[in-house]
Subunit: 253 residues, 2 copies
């Protein structure tokens, strides 16, 4: 990773991931999307719908990372408390956002913009809206904190809207090679030597277990594409040196 | 959650989840497994293969939670540094574990128990082994920290071995009801009132979008089964009061 890349932290807010009710689908989407923008995700925290926890975690993360993204907890029900907790974290009032309020008021039939839905138009003072194509209820940004929905397709729509507004660094590129029937323990020493020669890239080793055969995938990541390709060329030679067939790219499926 | 339930934190260690290369499959498995043991998962942190980050996060988590579980970073390659970082966190030597060492030495052919594989038998002084049915390389426990593999099926085998040794609390039970074509914003106020009457349970509201129809699932979780069932009975009446059909349980698929 180049020193010029801004860093990101993701806060997944919601009891449903911690209880195992819901399989998270947001971490990977944002990890990939942020990597393409050159904003490497450096930490994810999954936390419950507990005000003190949300407030403290938001404050810790926004001090430590360039960007903080949150997913979850911005709907109309009693367990949706992200927005008011972010206001508390910033020490600003939580109040009707004039644009969001007017838009939601217009979109509901007379009487349907009730107190619960009004909470979705109530935001920390100074928040900027994050729109999306699927729902009239927006997310918002305040400082370096970006508050998004937890429902994956709504979150994804918000992130697509948001992406062009984020200032990234050089894109994180990835190059890979894999081999069948080659134990990690056999190539570990050689891999370590290659990693030491390319400190600017992250060389990862990932065993896989698939019907087509067990093996190991070696992945070089970083903003220096030439270094990633050179490292993978060395890994390719290492694999061949053990009498195995180096297969370019990640294993399929 | 009863006050008698011990708490757990999971540390997912590995660049591959943060880069989006790998879809995490361990959070949900452990969330469910720990819930059944009455050890609610209260936080998950996904962190990179960076020594300072691992050491600090382990120390923060073990001070704050009754149980800390880690997944990832205990293989033979240069990016597998969890074990030595846990030793550093506890301030104890990282040294050959006599039982693990002897077992691995026996299982490899002459000369194959190389320096890289010997790292998998090197552990914090005082560690107790966590066995598994799939691999000769064990995880380990030290203090309240349980270090497991990142490969899901190996981790699952380790957790199955481990589960009977963990001291849990009352099981976290779950009761649910759902409805089609009922917006969250309509029932939010009634749900909030029900949650207020049952402070000992967590009442969650989860919109879903499926081919069979969009709707919302209401889930009551806690150790007090009678309270969870009473809360869901009230939610069922609430749904019917809005002219919708309450369907017991979670939506399928």
């Amino acid at each position: 990773m180049a020193a010029t890349n801004p860093t990101a932290c993701l806060l997944v807010i919601g009891n449903e991931v911690l209880s195992g009710r819901t399989q998270d689908a947001n971490i990977r989407f944002l990890a990939v999307g942020l990597g393409e923008l050159g904003i490497p995700l450096r930490e994810v925290r999954v936390i419950p719908d507990v005000p003190r926890t949300i407030i403290d975690t938001v404050n810790e993360a926004r001090a430590k990372f360039d960007y903080v993204f949150t997913t979850g907890g911005i709907g109309p029900t009693h367990d949706d408390i992200t927005s008011e907790c972010v206001a508390a974290a910033f020490g600003v009032p939580w109040e009707p956002h004039p644009v969001a309020w007017a838009r939601m008021d217009r979109s509901y039939r007379q009487g349907d913009f009730n107190a619960a839905r009004q909470r979705m138009a109530t935001m920390p003072r100074g928040a900027t809206l994050i729109d999306n194509a699927l729902s009239v209820a927006p997310g918002f940004q305040i400082g370096n904190v970006y508050v998004m929905a937890g429902v994956p397709r709504v979150m994804q729509s918000m992130f697509e809207w948001l992406a062009p507004t984020l200032r990234g660094g050089p894109k994180i590129e990835s190059r890979a090679v894999h081999a069948i029937a080659l134990p990690e323990g056999v190539i570990a020493e050689g891999l370590g030597a290659i990693q030491a020669r390319y400190p600017q890239i992250d060389l990862g080793s990932y065993p896989f277990y698939r019907p087509g055969g067990n093996g190991v995938a070696l992945v070089a990541k970083g903003t220096d594409v030439a270094a990633a390709e050179a490292a993978i060329a060395e890994v390719t030679a290492l694999i061949a040196g053990f009498g195995k067939v180096p297969i370019p790219g990640e294993p399929e499926g």
